[in-house]
Amino acid sequence: MKTRSQRILTIMHIIAWIIFVGICIQTGSVATSWIVSLFNPEGAKNLYNKELNFFELRQYDTAYYSTLMAFIVTLSALKAYIAYLGIRICMKLNFAQPFSIEVAQTIEKISYVGFCAGLMALVAYSYSQWLGDKGFKVVYPWGAEEFLLLAGVIFIVAQVFKRGIEIQAENELTV
């Protein structure tokens, strides 16, 4: 008989998969639209949704446009990777012995990837501000602060989890 926590974990696993697939679709769509727009500038008008319209920038300079798109696609890919790591945690987590080295390493990885994504989002935001000064308004939710906050909080959780592993190991060797 499953406990409440196990049921919640199963639901979270399913939600994590849905989020992962959704972000992968988004990343693929944006990347494909970017490649198409390199050959057909009209493609830059509707890259993923109507809000992602960089037609003017594409017309002005392909290098500036490609740099911006590279930031967007890479950030989206990093989000997908974080979602995948979340799925790995749901798969590896065992409530009988929850503190395992694999889960601890995956949690730590999430904090490092989140930190990298936060730094990249900061750079991308600065770049978009620079483009704005040139007359090309870029409105995109970079989420740098959110990524950095996630990285910080998850890093602390990873350290606590590592201590949990030590305590669990000691408990297993307590007779």
């Binding site: 190991a169 000691e170 060797l173 307590t174 007779v175």
Partner: protein, 66 residues
């Protein structure tokens, strides 16, 4: 580790097997084996009490500091 567990010595003196001791103290063979081989990190007082009762000895007969 500086704490030595002399459980096998006491078991030999009382002519008791690991299985027999395991049944008397309500501890699994695996846990008793962990204790006997010196791999245990900690021992609960309740366990120590049960072992001393089963082997009719003092804690000092089982645990030694070197």
């Amino acid at each position: 580790m500086p704490i030595i567990v002399n459980l096998d010595v006491m078991m030999a003196k009382r002519k008791m097997s690991l299985n027999g001791l395991s049944e008397k103290v309500d501890l699994t063979l695996a846990n008793l084996s962990i204790l006997k081989t010196g791999k245990a990190k900690a021992v609960r007082f309740s366990t120590l009490e049960a072992i001393c009762k089963a082997l009719d000895c003092q804690p000092g007969d089982i645990l030694e500091y070197k």
